[in-house]
Symmetry: C2
Subunit: 430 residues, 2 copies
């Protein structure tokens, strides 16, 4: 028995186009496996005249996406425009208000307005699929909601931003400066033309926040989270870390501790022997630590048309079959609890410090005295000349508290021998 | 609204006990997330008097499992005894015949009788959950059925046997002989007292066969597959491979090619730079290659009470919610097609050869002449003295066809200088 299933697609960029092509190509697979015939009964993008790599004329084009949504025979609205404001937001809310299921890859919107979306979807008894919003082709949303649904999750640790991971890998492997690695990432389609949110950590924050809500059933106020990215790092940092036995990875980490949700987004040093250190280029990876320290690791492409459209399509296929009890975050909206956020990992750990210092007598003594004043002892120190006036001093500390490091950092940055704010990264044992 | 959900459990070993403890511990999580109250309304094991690490008296014990199954209020039968014959098989078939859902971790049974189980379940409109049957805590069944349901899967490659992987890792890391590594694996609970099916590759074959059926929707005749395991390997092999830049991994591989299903289970050499080479100890890993070479890798514990019981419990929770369209292999039984099997990878590749040779003049010449006769050229060769009479000769060939290697191997094994059958392993580029 064949069931017709009608969708509309808003947003026809890389992911939108790949989704349409995938649906056309695999029609027979859907029919055979699910008995579903997926009909695309409307498409919309901001720019109609732009060239697309699918047959535009096959589909009904709407210049007003809200009109498109409101068609009576639409089952599901697929939003692939992106962004937490403007038309993308309007489309998502209007879809739910009009009792349509919603599928979206929009992590910024979900991180900002996901709870409102969940509430509205429950009220109107429709469903939200957002597998494509985190880690493209890695089925992490489904895994957390359906496979880790019966147990306590301890911690989630993820490399969630392919752009940053590519740049970190490329600086090391091809000895490129940051800006050249970024250019290469853009050329390969791994970075957008405006990559700020990828590089400053915001994109990683959006994603780890979404995963946290599913894993821990907490409501998180995005605005209260402090985060950082890789935009201050330089090629030197990657090589110094390498020399000390580490790789640099931008991570999102979350776990519950003493009635607080620890939510941390920053670059860390990871020993070369650990799994995550070998997740390179544009790959993403997520470690789920659960049930008596059972670790499950998922690795795959975090972005791009092919992997992401796979997640969009699996959502389209599954949304039809799932029970009404499939809540957006795996739990009723009303059962999501508010929680205080902390942005510091509590463990003592090693820290990497790189300070750019004027080549003057007393410089090293000044730096090491600052560390001594905060009881920070040094495990390893080396320096490297940058030019006639400047050198880098690189320090790996023994285990110490982050709070002490923060105090020392602010003193370092005010020190007359130090040229610019120092780079400080924690070593993570994952 | 709370729904009571009644299960019975047959088999109370490591996984059975962990499942009961997990259900008791997380009652409130199930209630909150799914509104399900899971009641264990019967337990059975072969040996009633054996000590168990849960409160046996809390549950109704049945000495006849068939009587247990047939209770009117039972929704789902959980079979955790294992084995493709005897009472486990009887329980599984009787459960379905009596219109009960079935959850099982029994890979041997599914590999042998899965198609019959699927047919019966469809006929009686009940469901089968078998997430726990492959790779314990890795949600590979669900991932293939629900996340890769809309695309073409190209290939699956897996480290699926924790016992073998532990022994291979341990021989290298602790320089143990095979039998001592096996003993240690047994001590740690990573190997059974009768580990034959783990070491000879049969367990890996069961698992890759199950994954193949879901990925490619083919019926596979288990009896037609040739397979091998690690039982002939020795500590030396692991070290020789290491010296050449490789790790040895027992893999299950499957893909479609020219109307045949390639199904291969044997130990391979994998470059130390590749992801799978770093999956060590008792870990399992699966690479899903799909949709334009998008690679997704899942890594986790392949066995043991905690990870496996997680999969059993997620099956219990999900089986209740899923649609009637949730077919065992993701597709109707009648749509599974028979297919011819081939056990040879078709690519030319490098091969590792270790021959144990008598220390006599002409020995090396005899070996290399055999290779030359089959146009196999040598990339690297070294020899190592075993004792006064014997030495190992280790050869890494240039790329050549497996069929030529097989012919050469049979000649090698008949050569008067060669003491015992040579070890031959293919290098795999994954």
């Amino acid at each position: 028995m064949i069931k017709n299933y009608n969708i509309v697609i808003a947003g026809l960029g890389t992911v939108g186009s790949s989704t349409i092509n995938l649906i056309e190509k695999n029609k027979n697979i859907f029919l055979m496996k699910s008995g579903l015939r997926i009909n695309i009964v409307g498409i919309f993008a901001k720019n109609k005249s732009k060239k697309r790599n699918f047959k535009k004329n096959k589909y009904k084009w709407f210049s007003n996406p809200l009109e498109m949504i409101k068609q009576k025979d639409v089952d599901t609205v697929v939003e692939l425009i992106g962004g937490d404001k403007g038309i993308a937001k309007k489309i998502c809310f209007e879809a739910l208000k009009n009792n349509k299921n919603l599928i979206t890859a929009n992590k910024a919107l979900i991180a900002n307005d996901g709870y409102e979306l969940a509430k509205l979807a429950e009220k109107n008894k429709v469903k939200i699929g957002f597998e494509a919003s985190v880690a493209g082709g890695i089925p992490i949303i489904s895994t957390l909601k359906r496979n880790f649904n019966g147990i306590k999750i301890n911690k989630i640790t993820g490399i969630l931003n392919g752009t940053s991971n590519y740049i970190l890998t490329n600086m090391l492997e091809e000895k490129n400066q940051f800006k050249n690695s970024l250019k290469k990432a853009q050329k390969l389609g791994y970075a957008e033309q405006k990559p700020d949110d990828d590089l400053n950590g915001l994109d990683t924050l959006h994603k780890i926040l979404i995963l946290s809500t599913i894993a821990f059933n907490k409501k998180i106020d995005l605005k209260k989270v402090v985060f950082s990215g890789i935009n201050n790092l330089r090629k030197d940092d990657v090589f110094y870390a390498d020399r000390l036995g580490y790789r640099i990875k931008l991570l999102g980490i979350c776990y519950l501790e003493k009635n607080k949700l620890k939510l941390v987004v920053e670059p860390f040093l990871i020993s070369k022997e650990k799994e995550l250190s070998n997740v390179n280029n544009n790959l993403n990876a997520i470690i789920i630590d659960s049930n008596n320290n059972n670790k499950t690791i998922l690795v795959g492409e975090g972005a791009g048309g092919d992997p992401t459209s796979m997640s969009v399509v699996s959502d389209i296929l599954n949304i039809h079959f799932e029970d009404k009890n499939d809540f957006m975050y795996g739990i009723k909206y009303q059962n999501l609890r508010k929680i205080k956020i902390s942005n510091n990992l509590s463990n003592k750990d090693l820290f990497f410090i790189r300070a750019q210092i004027y080549d003057k007598p007393g410089a090293i003594a000044a730096i090491t005295t600052i560390l001594k004043n905060y009881k920070i002892s040094i495990k390893s120190l080396f320096q490297e000349q940058i030019n006639q006036k400047l050198f880098n001093v690189v320090i790996l500390t023994h285990k110490c508290k982050k709070s002490f490091i923060n105090l020392a950092a602010s003193n370092l940055n005010n020190c007359k021998f130090v040229k610019q704010d120092s780079i400080i990264m924690q070593v993570l044992h994952v």
